[in-house]
Point group: C2
Chain length 330, copies 2
């Protein structure tokens, strides 16, 4: 690389850019062919799990709110989360990267460093990608994973009598977005949670081994995502509000903004915690919090209740419809 960090992508050109991104890449042993050919080749057992997520500048991140490195880390994390949520171990990533021709090379190098850092943490290899010109930065990451011989854990497997448990933070990223939206940079832990979700890689596969009957990545909000599980399984999910801990930073932001902290917990997305159902308390792995149970849906009313009632608040996020009040706007 003989380019300065302030050189634009137009000045650098496509092939040197790819070389810069893939330089010094470490690949796991299961990668038979890495970046640089028409397609990558990944060794797998008998099945591969696959998922794609797209992050768009101005919709999912803002360059003035997030460092490039954090955007790279987040792009990996949100995709690996989907692979974890079917009980698989993420193994490979493909990144489709579109950006304006006047974007400085430094941004892309930092972004690539974030991809590398988080990929290393997740034990996943960058298999390939595509770079192209566009008006806005758009990042499409496809994650591949190995089921290691297990059946996938689907949204449709929750059964009456199961327990509902969660693993990971709820509401931190949403609270961080509120903080950023009001021009603040603290509580710092919340702002950081909004920039990069705190992941516990391997938790999904561990839950699958422990006998999880259904599982989902909480990306749109706990109630919305458990709603998908309830619908797919044809069951009623009953949460107990008192089972949830309201973390101190959430209490602080709720108090400062007059919000109900449970709105963060129940409707906040982007933390990429896992929710799963288990057949018994013994099956619930360490680190998971039991927050409710599964019962028969009467009269086809599959859904989610909190303390026996419908939770009265915005319960999710529609990528084309009404926006979250706190969503970043361009």
């Amino acid at each position: 690389m003989n380019f300065s960090r302030t050189a634009t992508l137009a000045e650098v050109g496509e092939f040197p850019l790819i070389a810069a991104i893939t330089e010094g890449l470490s690949l796991q042993a299961e990668v038979r062919v890495g970046p640089g050919d028409d397609a990558a080749v990944l060794a797998v057992d008998d099945a591969v799990a696959a998922s794609v997520d797209v992050l768009v500048e101005g919709v999912h991140f803002r360059r003035d709110w997030s460092e490039a490195r954090d955007v790279g880390r987040k792009a990996v994390a949100v995709n690996v989360a989907d692979i974890e949520a079917v009980g698989a171990r993420a193994t490979g990533l493909l990144v489709g990267f579109s950006a304006p021709a006047d974007l400085p090379l430094g941004w892309v190098l930092d972004f690539a460093e974030g991809i590398r850092h988080e990929s290393h943490a997740a034990g996943v290899s960058l298999l390939g990608g595509d770079v192209t010109r566009a008006r806005d930065i758009t990042i499409a990451v496809t994650a591949l994973g190995s089921l290691e011989g297990r059946d996938p854990v689907l949204r449709s497997g929750a059964r009456p009598g199961n327990l509902v448990a969660i693993h990971g933070r709820l509401g931190w990223a949403a609270a961080g977005l509120v903080v950023l939206g009001r021009g603040f940079r603290s509580p710092r832990v919340l702002v950081e949670a909004q920039r990069v979700p705190q992941m516990d890689y391997g938790a999904g596969a561990a839950a699958a081994r422990a006998g999880a009957t259904s599982m989902i990545d909480i990306s749109d909000g706990l109630l919305a995502d458990l709603g998908h599980v309830a619908q797919a399984s044809g069951v009623l999910i009953n949460l107990r509000r008192e089972a949830f801990d309201v973390a101190e930073p959430l209490q602080a932001v709720a108090a400062a903004t007059g919000a109900d902290p449970y709105t963060f917990l129940f409707a906040g997305g982007d933390d990429h915690a896992l929710a799963a159902t288990f057949p018994s308390p013994d099956a619930v792995p360490a680190g998971w919090l039991i927050v409710g149970g599964v019962s028969l849906a009467d009269d086809d009313h599959a859904g989610v209740l909190v303390d026996g009632a419908v939770w009265e608040s915005a319960a999710g996020y529609d990528h084309f419809g009404s926006q979250r009040a706190s969503e970043p706007r361009r």
Copy 2:
């Protein structure tokens, strides 16, 4: 679907949109889990080939030049071509779709129909996707493929003494772009070639079975892409100009525009023909045209020659650097 085709994506909303796209989807037997869960699950043998390509409105297609259905077909074709080029059989697709909130539903339905049509032709299943809001339509397709127990055919396998052969059209899409750029709609065969490449699915796997030593999807132009093969293999590739047929429509456009028709053949991308090297004439499958040979690169000058000399013309395409004169501009 209770929405009119003129409804905007904002009016339709994310989940009904996904339902509309995935409605009536047919999945091959190897798909264990299709769209609708956190990740799809695809049965494979011992390895999976994977590749991603991104198409951006205003860069790779224009809504006034291409119907939505053609954009969908092209998105599938260009990605399957990469899987074919390592000698694999494409099996699954994941589509990351970003679009403005005011895009009419009809465009997306036609696009999805194009995806379905071309997927059926290629024998590939739509495994999953992501839809999100963006200023421009951006389509990131990841294709997965099965090597069926074979080793992948890489760019690095060309050996001195091998023959070079091509399969498929060269220069048609580039000539079609020139036609469209001048405001014409004929020769129609060229315009259609620009909108959707004419694919012969299975040709890559057949070449692999026949013993191809290296292979590449011609997306940036024959000389540029064979240059990648020459570099990766450390060889010299010698093409014979007289071995190429200049199809009649190319002759017509070249004559009308004062262009050299061999510029279309040698530098035109987007037809997604295959170029491969074979150990002997006997190994070259029917339908392939032998156009040259492979020799030792002297003094590390790996590269491509035409009739013993460097071809003096624009030899490729850089996605961030100088644009093709004929590239669509916004």
